[in-house]
Amino acid sequence: MIMPRGQPLLLPASPGFIWGSLLAALMLDLLPLGRVLWMPDFLAVVLVFWSIHQPRRVGLTAAFAFGLMLDVHQASLLGQHALAYTVLIYFAIMLHRRILWFSVPGQALQLLPLFAAAHAIAIVLRLIGGAEFPGWQVLLAPALESMLWPIVGALLLAPQRRAPNPDANRPL
């Protein structure tokens, strides 16, 4: 198998952990913290992570379903997040073979336009629907999501980085 230099062989990801982490990200998005315009969308970052690392497990349908849930929770237009997530995950799947060859900060930089596009879709949809632009702070959200990428990556890959046969020198 051709692999980027220096990347360790990973254990297979457990489906329970994948769906557990997606639910945890959904819970983070559901936290009632008030109207914060720059709040990053944790669910989008985790969805992109799994669709890049496990494209056979997490795909467009899951993104669509999670998007609908967020639409209901946020009382926004039904289908707005669903469309943004579907497009986001489509481009993430298109990228997934290429992007893992970059370093982690490089990956974050490559994903920045993707996150920005997802937010732009929501903004354009609402402007067409007759709403007003809420303020420049919404532009911070994709940047923060991109900054979350290394942290999310380190957390979610940790179980796969364990040693397959733990011994005294490698307890984990």
């Binding site: 009382a75 609402r126 303020g135």
Partner: protein, 316 residues
């Protein structure tokens, strides 16, 4: 125990699923269809209610830590702050008790006068208390979610008050909660009467201004409106009972180039961080049809429920 090092299922060779592009097309068409159905046709409420019911346990769980922190913060509030809020509350109570004393007498007087004039009785509207769970995070609208829903008998369209005035209207009802659109939402309109002069008008929400205000549109510059005037619901819409305080006029801007003045009003209800609200039942067809006549009452109730875009065409 050594862990599995290989995926149990190798990638399928011959069984191919639909490609990502075709799935993208299908799902984005579905999303666009849903958005049109939601924004224009208003037919997706059952789907929304179903998703909300599925999501309810997760929402409840997410609410717990935040409520716990709020309670803890409330517990640790300084004594001084608590004393200050208590004295403010007592002051307000004293002010209100004076007015309440007058109200008893006025009610009696009013009932006799109405009897005399053979007018309809004022409607007593049943009310339910509810707790605000969270502000909806959608940055394009101003909504809050309360903890009472269909199961507690909340009806869509019900007016919602807080302790100082009208807060908004119930726009969506789920089994375990409902959404309230605040007065300052762009799509919210409320018919009001100026309590000093008795002039009727319609107040439109304007969320962009100083954290949200109301605007009285189509009031000619000759109209008698002053800063500090109290606006109350006029009751011609058949949704809000008449006489509820809504807003106070904050600024009147009479411009030379227009025959309408620009009137901004500050809502009386607390729109940020309101905790407890009262949901009234919509007055419905009990509107004073005898006094106003059927046609104007209908015309006035149309903007109160949900104005189309045509109604907002004359935005100045």
């Amino acid at each position: 125990m050594p862990l599995e090092t290989l995926d149990r299922t190798p990638p399928p060779f011959f069984k191919q699923e639909p490609s990502a592009l075709s799935r993208l097309m299908l799902l984005s068409t579905l999303a666009l269809f849903l958005m049109v159905a939601d924004a224009r046709l208003h037919v997706v409420q059952p789907l929304r209610a179903a998703i909300a019911t599925v999501l309810y346990p997760a929402q409840w769980l997410a609410l717990q830590p935040v409520q716990m922190i709020q309670e803890l913060a409330g517990y640790l509030t300084e004594l001084k702050t608590a004393r200050k809020t208590e004295s403010a509350a007592r002051l307000k109570l004293a002010e209100q008790s004076q007015r309440a004393g007058q109200v008893e007498q006025l009610l009696l007087e009013n009932a006799r006068l109405r009897e005399l004039l053979a007018l309809r009785e004022r409607v007593q509207v049943p009310a339910k208390m509810a707790q605000v769970l969270y502000d909806a995070t959608d940055p394009y609208s101003r909504r809050v979610v309360i903890d009472k829903g269909q199961l507690q008998g909340i009806q869509p369209g019900s007016p919602v008050l807080d302790e100082s005035g009208v807060l908004g209207q119930v726009t969506r009802v789920y089994p375990f909660g409902s959404e309230i659109t605040l007065l300052i939402d762009r799509e919210q309109v409320i018919p009001v009467v100026n309590t000093r002069t008795g002039t009727r008008s319609v107040a439109y929400g304007d969320p962009a201004l100083h954290g949200g205000m109301l605007e009285l549109r189509y009031m000619s510059t000759a109209e008698d409106v002053k800063e500090g005037d109290l606006l109350a619901t006029s009751g011609v819409d058949g949704v809000y009972p008449p006489g509820l305080p809504v807003a106070r006029v904050a600024s009147v801007d009479r411009r030379g180039d227009s025959s309408f003045s620009r009137i901004r009003c500050q809502p009386l209800a607390r729109l940020q961080g309101v905790a407890h609200v009262m949901v009234l039942e919509p007055v419905g067809d009990l509107a004073p049809t005898a006094a106003v006549g059927a046609a104007p009452a209908e015309a006035a109730s149309a903007p109160a429920s949900r104005p189309g875009r045509a109604a907002r065409g004359g935005r100045s």
